[in-house]
Amino acid sequence: MTTPPNNGGSAPSEAVVQDFANMSAALMGFQASFIRPFLDPVNLSGIFYQFAVAQVGQTMMDALMSAFDALSKQTPPLTAQQIADTLLEVSSPTPSNQALLCQSIIAMWYLGSWYPPPFQKDGLQQVISSQAYTKSLAWNTAQAHPMGFSAFPFGYWSQPPGPLTDFGVNTGGGQ
């Protein structure tokens, strides 16, 4: 324990990571407090934000975050679904690059992998990290777990899975 490890590069501010988590929660129908818990030792919000910035550039990410900020401040307040529909431009047959970036961000959270948006030149499809894979939200939505990794104790398969809300899914009060 004598020589400290290298801490790596600088991290985005807490406010930026929280905004990214809030936007991600709206895009995916998850609870923001699940995406970015009060104590977050895994820090996927921070890791995914930095990863996306490295892929598409700070300018494009800032523009997306500004668009989300404007939507989230509207009066009367928009629902998470309305914010998602707007950012994803669901009514447009030719979504903008910003909407395509939103699609890649959704895929990143659900699958732990980066699927390059069509406009990203030389973009590489890749698994972001082992933890991004095991913590990806597709498993929660299926009330299941990834192959090779289960948080559930022995014999869980003999019981019905818990409700979707236990897995962080924002069901809007329903199940």
Partner: protein, 454 residues
């Protein structure tokens, strides 16, 4: 969500209420948690206030600090000189005479809990003495022995997942033992979980008792790693004269044997189930001379001598963290010496390193204040693993692991070959112990010891 944060907030409200009660209006607020020289084993961690508007990293650092303080207070209390009842003697102090007998060594060794034929165990009285040790055994003598044919748990000289032994720089195999405290023993006894037959008729879920802050301790498991030391080195180790038992083996073939050795403590794991940690708190300590870190090796910042690393042997000749070649024969001095390096398992969790370093410095100051010859100054906390998302003595639904912090934690003497940062492969105390069952296919509440029932 029920989180540690809720506990911290409730604690703050409780403190405020105490201060506002007229009869107690002169009381000072509860002190921030601190490492203290006390024989009292903490029933749980105590939480201090968070800094204003903290970042995620600052929150984790602050609460990791509280848990690391808990770990050091536990280490001090467990290694306190015991009185006749086995509890820490308040009239003595840890390390006042250099080394001392300890409280945890009077806990019950699991080989005296899970007896042949499923016999009913007792907490006190002579433990199991293997035939080969009987001639050398004297009452009260520690015996480090094989604890049963349970290939996925620690045995006398192997490690989790049968990853192999660790052999010191003198060619001696490191030995292990596991002990349980009275509350854990009592739960096993009351529920007849000490026998296969008792486990078979047990219904419901295994739920060991949780420790309570400023109250009783919960179930505690201690795992210790020991190495043979030269008597001249006793001033640097907590040491014991021990009967070391090696069970018979067919491959390689050797008979059971027992010999008297001077053993020094090199690793100490403490698992404690508490109200704030249904997934248990996992504190892990090591001797400061065990191994260098990856960063030490890279920078050349090396000591002249380690317990498990030869600084004069280049990586090309002595590649680090290799399992010893078979056959493994703990009864003989090995030509192979383990070359172990502590891998950085805190990438992204740097708060764990920072917190442990600060708490180690605080503890060192206290221990040196007792005596400059205290052997306890030579032990360091590697970290404490704790659940960030847990309820009061029960897991949060949907998150049985409680999202542990740090994400990974290994003791180089106990999880030598599973250091790293790969989920389900690298050492994570909570994740691994969550898979534990009894001899029946029933989860055993984060302990593998129940698999030893006969």
């Amino acid at each position: 969500m029920k989180k540690i944060a809720t506990i911290i907030l409730l604690a703050a409200v409780a403190v405020t209420m105490v201060i506002m009660t007229p009869e107690t209006s002169t009381m000072a607020p509860a002190a921030d948690p601190a490492i203290v020289l006390s024989p009292k084993i903490p029933g749980d961690a105590q939480f201090g206030p968070l800094p204003p508007n903290p970042t995620n990293e600052q929150k984790l650092l602050a609460i990791q600090g509280d848990f690391d303080i808990y770990s050091w207070n536990t280490f001090i209390a467990l290694n306190w000189p015991p009185g006749p009842d086995g509890n820490g003697d308040p009239n003595k102090t840890i390390g006042q005479n250099g080394d001392n007998d300890t409280v945890w060594e009077h806990y019950r060794n699991v080989d005296s809990v899970f007896l042949p034929g499923g016999a009913k165990p007792t907490y006190t009285g002579p433990g199991t003495v293997p035939t080969q040790c009987k001639a050398s055994y004297k009452p009260g003598m520690k015996i480090i022995t094989q604890v049963g044919k349970t290939p996925t748990v620690l045995t006398a000289f192997s490690q989790p997942f049968n990853t192999g032994p660790i052999i010191d720089q003198n060619g001696n195999y490191t030995r292990f033992e596991i002990l349980v405290n009275k509350p854990m023993f009592d739960y096993i006894l009351q529920n007849t979980l000490y026998s296969k037959a008792g486990q078979k008729v047990f219904s419901g879920a295994v739920k060991f008792p949780c420790g309570v802050l400023n109250g009783p301790e919960g179930a505690i498991m201690v795992k210790a790693a020991w190495k043979v030391i030269d008597p001249a080195d006793k001033s640097r180790f907590h040491s014991q004269t021990v009967l070391v038992y090696s069970p018979a083996s067919q491959n390689p073939k050797y008979p059971a044997s027992c010999s008297t050795k001077t053993m020094g403590l090199v690793g100490l794991h403490v698992g404690h189930k508490t109200n704030s940690a249904a997934q248990w708190l996992w504190s892990t300590f090591e001797h400061v001379d065990n191994v260098p870190t990856e960063a030490d090796v890279a920078s050349g910042n090396l000591k002249t001598k380690y317990n498990y690393y030869d600084p004069k042997c280049a990586a090309s000749k002595c590649p680090p963290n290799q399992t010893p070649p078979r056959p493994w024969n703990p009864t003989q001095v090995s030509a192979f010496h383990s070359q172990i390096v502590r891998m950085n398992m805190f990438k992204g969790n740097e708060f764990a390193f920072e917190s442990a370093a600060a708490r180690n410095a605080d503890a060192l100051k206290l221990l040196l204040g007792v005596s400059s010859s205290s052997v306890w100054k030579n032990y360091e906390l590697i970290s404490t693993m704790w659940p960030t998302n847990t309820g009061q003595c029960q897991a949060t639904p949907g998150d049985p692991l409680g999202t542990p912090a740090p994400n990974f934690l290994a003791n180089t003497t106990l999880e030598t070959y599973i250091q790293g940062m790969v989920p389900n492969v690298s050492s994570n105390c909570i994740e691994c112990h969550n898979n534990a069952t009894m001899t029946t296919p029933v989860p055993s509440d984060f302990t593998y010891v129940l698999q030893r029932a006969q």
